[in-house]
Point group: C2
Chain length 133, copies 2
């Protein structure tokens, strides 16, 4: 488990490489909260980043990696600390450019934040992973 993923409490739930979908869980702790006790959007965004990337990674070869170039997050609802679920999807792949989207859900299955349609990524050789943004 990568360090950053562990910090976000990432757990693998399910993926379907053919469909290009992935489902993950995260644990939003008190350490991620703003002064009102809600999970700061910063950490909702971090969880969405760590959903779109794995959605693509799950479809790649073992010697490939990916680099997220850009992503856009909309914050829909406040959420308290707890277990959050991220669902990600490969929307379209054209060579080494990929469009991804993801949504983050609270314990009641309500969507709280989305990273939709504007996340793009390059597919790169694993050997170049350290030099990628």
């Amino acid at each position: 488990m990568p360090r950053a993923a562990a910090t976000l409490g990432l757990e693998f739930i399910d993926s379907d490489a053919d469909a290009g979908t992935i489902e993950l869980a995260f644990t939003a702790t008190e350490a991620f909260t703003n002064p009102t006790g809600n999970v700061l959007g910063a950490f909702q965004a971090a969880m969405l980043y760590d959903t779109v990337g794995p959605a693509l990674l799950a479809t790649l070869e073992p010697d490939q990696f990916q680099s997220t170039l850009q992503f856009n997050v909309s914050f829909l609802r406040p959420v308290r600390p707890g277990r959050l679920v991220g669902r990600g999807r490969v929307v379209h792949r054209d060579g080494d450019l990929v469009f991804l989207e993801a949504s983050l859900f609270d314990g009641q299955g309500q969507v709280i934040a989305t990273a939709t349609a504007t996340a793009t990524a390059r597919v790169i050789p694993l050997s170049q992973a350290a030099a990628a943004a």
Copy 2:
């Protein structure tokens, strides 16, 4: 210091309420890294989120708060753990809608990620902060 800000190692450097600018530092630890040892974009995004918000907050009245509705991040360069500097700016305010931007810099002053021109926020009464996204 809010819990989330402390988790990101936030330190206040400087702000200019008239100019609508703020400068903050963050500490990217090993806990934020991907398998190559670089700081995962998720945490670069989190730091940028926690730069645009404070840029606006620094210009508000004590009884006001803000809610970031949407933000867009471009990842320009890889960065290793260490002290990163965030510079944020209020680009334009029209009533309770505000456009913000921020950039994140490494120890050499090189820009590594930006959240430019597409971050928007609502200005809300402090009493409504807990109900805002």
